[in-house]
Subunit: 145 residues, 3 copies
């Protein structure tokens, strides 16, 4: 069963990150600086190395790993919502190495930007907040009105 | 040669699916319930297992396969249009396992949601209908006015 | 540090490419024909073969390679901006073979469409132009006002 809220487009940004930025932290910084509480971000580019995570669905813990080489970002997709009262980015990323082999996972701090171009859609609308979800162990959108 | 139609943004939803949902069926249910005939959906999250397909370009048949383990959804992308008079979802998905290895394909019924967050853009505009396409054997957008 | 510009949504197109099209060239053709100078494109579908590139972050040169078999497009993501005064598409793509194995990279000419459905968002707003960037050797968005 889907639970969803209608949101209202407020503004759209296109931009890029700087060489050497931490990918996740810098997207978070944008949202904190601009007070963006609800949004969707898409990006492409390249990283010097990636730090990713996979969520262990049995132990309910993220397992982190590093792909320590240059990779193309074939896609970053993330959303912005509220967690503990602050803007929070949840992003997943797909990458590819020089042979074209693809990698992916939950984007973690420690992923270093080589170049990155993004589109960031900002929404007004009902707040969407993360709360602890018993079934998954994750901070999911509570979606209550 | 590209064929395209200008569509008018009507509304945008952000939401999540429930633990245990069939990923494709539940997105279809949203569109049937809300009478969404034209749209674009993006999502990320995780699945308990994935059922995908690859289209055989010679035999013109989908070949289905299952990746029977927990996977991150690094990206789901799909569109909503009309097929046989009803809203129809066409979605492709990229996934990654706990080692970061990426998988992908045409999303088929049988993919079980662990957690899934989506953005669904709904459009008004000229109908876009699927009709049988001789060259590919697929129900493609006819794009006639 | 992120640099970004607020852009104004002008119009949205949904459409498809034709069987046999060169994927990158045909998206470029749309933008030239419609004089689209700023935009974002997302797509899914299938290709007969893919020609991709990985950027060598040390030598500052693209290294091209071909995946010479039918593949699903699990995601194409690209943007439109100005380079040398003309609309220029920068797109990355994620693909999957019949076993579900995923590939990806920078989309190069020589990728042949089997079928491809896209959403193209067109923006008005401040020009975004590509200029040579010393640190990366790439034509990145200069983002100066």
């Amino acid at each position: 069963m889907a639970m969803m809220k209608k949101v209202r487009p407020r503004e759209v940004f296109m931009g890029r990150l700087s060489h050497g930025d931490d990918l996740l932290e810098e997207i978070s910084n944008i949202c904190l600086r601009e007070n963006i509480q609800l949004g969707w971000v898409e990006a492409l580019g390249a990283v010097k190395k990636a730090r990713l995570a996979s969520y262990n669905q049995e132990t309910h813990a993220y397992e982190f790993f590093v792909v320590d080489r240059p990779l193309e970002i074939t896609k970053l997709a993330g959303n912005v919502s509220l967690k503990d009262g602050h803007p929070f980015i949840h992003a997943h990323i797909t990458l590819a190495d020089k042979a074209g082999k693809a990698y992916g996972g939950h984007l973690a701090p420690g992923t270093v930007v080589f170049a990155c171009e993004f589109k960031l859609e900002v929404f007004d609308g009902p707040e969407i907040k993360r709360d602890f979800d018993e079934a998954t162990g994750l901070p999911l959108w509570s979606m209550e009105d």
